[in-house]
């Protein structure tokens, strides 16, 4: 604090303080204003919100704050939308198992109904991306696999690898494998940008293009091993490992056997 107090007579101190105060007032107002506006919905919705709020208070509020306003260790959830909740909680990433670099995909802790209630609650705080319905994610009908592959290689492969197997990012973060992701989850990830992933807005990647990408990923998930064992589809490292173990190992074994037989 002494460091800060040095500047208390600085000529910009007054304007800065004013800006800060305005910002705080605005934020507080929007938070306070958000809840009552959405609780004017139908009775069923209100029960879902209440149910979601109860789950939130029990399982999430210790990090995300009692009103989802966020804290020092977790971001605010106001305005992240239902899609974000469905993705993070539905894939088991949230609640986090530990405070590691990145939440990993694991068995979901909540039932689909509980996830839906949580999503309704968080969506009630402020508007955000909604969960895409099955009608939106009609990838099989509206997508184009080859075009999706091009888009995937241009936008996704640099982190998720050429075959969607995932890859490393800096400081222990990583782009996860997409082999277990469902079409809806992929769509949600693109519109919400979870963790290190950027948001691919509809201006950058149009909804039709998103469906093409999903169609390509689904085809990659079902890609047959055309040339024999795929060895992880991570490139030449596993190939090098195989030739240095099985390949030369077999041949040296045979060489030893040949040289022994001659005696």
């Amino acid at each position: 604090m002494r460091h800060l107090s040095k500047y208390r007579r600085h000529r910009f101190a007054g304007p800065m303080l004013l800006l800060f105060a305005l910002f705080m007032i605005g934020t507080t107002y929007s938070v306070a204003n958000a809840t009552p506006k959405l609780s004017t919905n139908s009775f069923a919705k209100t029960t879902a919100i209440d149910e979601g709020r109860q789950i939130f208070l029990r399982g999430c509020s210790s990090c995300h704050g009692l009103n989802a306003e966020g804290g020092s260790i977790a971001p605010s959830l106001i305005g992240v939308g239902a899609a974000s909740v469905d993705f993070q909680v539905g894939t088991g990433r949230m609640p986090m198992a530990d405070m590691s670099q990145q939440a990993m995909r694991k068995k979901p802790l909540y039932t689909p109904e509980e996830v839906a209630a949580l999503a309704v609650y968080v969506a009630s705080l402020a508007p955000g991306p909604a969960i895409p319905t099955e009608a939106v994610v009609e990838y099989a009908r509206d997508g184009n696999t080859a075009e999706g592959g091009e888009l995937f290689r241009s936008n996704c492969a640099m982190c998720h690898n050429f075959a969607g197997q995932g890859g490393a990012l800096s400081r222990g973060k990583y782009a996860p494998s997409l082999m277990d992701s469902t079409p809806v989850q992929i769509y949600e990830a693109m519109i919400t940008g979870p963790q290190s992933m950027p948001v691919f807005s509809d201006k950058v990647v149009t909804p039709e293009e998103k469906l093409s990408i999903i169609k390509w990923i689904v085809s990659a998930q079902n890609e047959p091993n055309l040339g024999g064992a795929s060895m992880g589809r991570t490139g030449p490292v596993s190939e090098g490992l195989l030739i240095w173990t099985l390949g030369i190992g077999l041949l040296i074994g045979i060489s030893v056997w040949l040289a022994t037989k001659a005696r």
Binding site: G149, M158, F162, V237, I243
Partner: protein, 528 residues
């Protein structure tokens, strides 16, 4: 004499009277080769080269080395209608629309990996046994040349299909060319016929890959084998084996059958791996465009150490006289490999300078009996292993839950610390093994049989070694350190005394040994 024998005899006689082949054949077919599994590593390299030629010819029938843009209309659905180069499209056709094409491609690529593995394994055998010593220094240099060309040839083959991975490799090759101070940009323009990627590079490297380098390979391999033939093969120490003889089996019929059979074994193993394990699935990588990149883009293993060096290099760059010098590429991409390969090629001369040993050697060393050489080998392998693992740093990070940043720092420190550590540990291990050998010769083998002597003492019975075994363990000679006089007879310092002092110190380190038992030692033991 049977009729058929008579016919064969007449034909052979006809040929012999006109060519004189019988005498030459008799001499050469009776040539003796020693027998040891480690002598077959070079054979594996030779046979994988033959496999590469055979499968490579097959691939050229359908491969179109052109960067002309085409629309893909082949069998692989996820790429249909995509714009790509003719090179990539024809590689897809080989994989999916040519009968047996994918298998041939996979045999070709696996054989290429095996070729390099066998060369490196053969190199290790030659190094650790001291087979490079006089008179084989030239053959050692030829081998280093073959290794270097193998890396280049493999890289060009990896680059030809023009998929996303190979394009990424070419991009890095371009960066390495550009990093050469002053002339780099011009050289890159020259190689690519204009700005990257252009349309000239793939046709050019195709010619180099299928014509120029295989031709040089054939010539060098022939010279390599002719020198082996002329200088005779080395052999491991043992009773009856001297610097003047070769103990083994004649070429005809034993080695003809063995080598011929071994070729088919190598071909069989390669074909087996190619049939069950996918390699370079180019259809998954997609066509190359400079705007795209995949996570985890790695070169084939024999380039992995180079990639690792580049990955661990700190981002150093300087701007001098209007030229940018990218030390971060120049040092790991050109300077370090240049130093490594030069040192490797010169090693036989360096060692003989330090030991003062200028005699011919046909009996191989057991690695423990040349502790410093073995330690240098272990040090080099550790260096390569650290850099190779760094080449796969992103896969290490994802598969072992590490962070790239930790791996980068671990490798930056490890590449300086671990090789010297390996040197010290290996040298001490070798000296310990020498001590064990000494004990074995002097005291014999421990039988585990305890005997109580009449006065109550317990002793373990040691069984003396057989004469053959003892000879094998003790037949090597131990070269003393160089004794270089620093002053002349009148006590005046010689010119170049500093150099002589350095050489003497290094020589003392190189020749450090545990004295092997002398005949006096043995007599004294027997006296007890």
């Amino acid at each position: 004499m049977k009729k058929s024998e008579k016919v064969v005899g007449t034909v052979a006689n006809y040929v012999d009277e006109r060519t004189g082949a019988a005498k030459w054949l008799k001499k050469n077919l009776n040539k003796v080769f020693p027998d040891h599994w480690s002598f077959m590593l070079g054979e594996i390299a030779l046979y994988s080269f033959v496999i590469l030629l055979l499968t490579g010819v097959f691939l050229t029938f359908w491969f179109d080395p052109s960067q002309r843009e085409v629309l893909y209309n082949g069998s692989y659905e996820p790429l249909s209608g995509i714009k790509m180069s003719a090179a990539y499209a024809s590689t897809l056709d080989i994989s999916f629309d040519v009968r047996g094409g994918l298998l041939m491609r996979q045999i070709h690529h696996w054989a290429a990996l095996l070729f390099m593995v066998a060369i490196v394994a053969h190199l290790m055998r030659v190094f650790f046994t001291g087979a490079f010593r006089k008179p084989r220094e030239f053959n050692w240099i030829l081998g280093i040349g073959l290794l270097t060309l193998g890396i280049v040839e493999g890289f060009l083959g990896y680059s030809l299909p023009d998929d996303l991975l190979s394009g990424t490799g070419i991009r890095i090759a371009e960066a390495i060319i550009q990093s050469i101070p002053v002339v780099g940009s011009y050289l890159a323009f020259f190689a690519f016929g204009g700005p990257f990627p252009g349309e000239a590079f793939i046709p050019r490297i195709f010619t180099v890959h299928v014509l120029l380098l295989p031709g040089i390979f054939l010539a060098l391999i022939t010279a390599h084998l002719m020198l082996v033939w002329y200088q005779k093969h080395t052999q491991y120490p043992g009773p009856g084996r001297t610097e003047k003889n070769v103990v083994g089996y004649p070429l005809m019929p034993v080695y003809m059958a063995k080598a011929g059979g071994f070729f088919f074994i190598v071909f069989g193993v390669t074909a087996f791996i190619a049939a069950v394990a996918s390699i370079n699935p180019i259809w998954l990588y997609g066509p190359y465009t400079p705007a795209q990149i995949s996570a985890g883009s790695q070169p084939d293993w024999y380039m992995g150490w180079l990639d690792g060096l580049v990955r661990m290099a700190p981002p150093w760059e300087s701007y001098i006289f209007g030229h940018t010098i990218s030390w971060n590429i120049l040092i790991p991409g050109l300077i370090v490999p240049g130093i490594l390969f030069t040192a490797m090629a010169l090693y036989p001369f360096i060692e003989s300078w330090l030991t003062g040993d200028k005699r011919e050697h046909h009996i191989l060393d057991r690695p423990r009996n040349a502790p410093t050489r073995t330690a240098i080998g272990a040090m080099s392998l550790t260096f390569i292993l650290v850099t190779l693992m760094t080449g796969g740093n992103d896969l290490l990070a994802t598969h072992f839950s590490l962070t790239i940043n930790q791996i980068t720092w671990a490798s930056r420190i490890g590449v300086f610390v671990l090789p010297p550590l390996a040197f010290v540990i290996t040298k001490r291990l070798c000296l310990s093994l020498q001590r064990a050998d000494r004990d074995l010769i002097l005291h014999g083998r421990e039988t585990g049989r305890l005997v109580r002597l009449p006065h109550g003492e317990f002793v373990e019975v040691h069984e003396p070694l057989s004469a053959e075994k003892a000879y094998t363990l003790a037949s090597h000679e131990q070269i003393p350190a160089l004794d270089l006089p620093l002053e002349d007879g009148a006590g005046v310092r010689r010119p170049k005394a500093l150099r002589a002092k350095l050489r003497a110190r290094m020589s003392a380190a190189v020749t450090e040994q545990i004295p092997k038992p002398t005949s006096e030692d043995l007599k004294e033991i027997e006296h007890h």
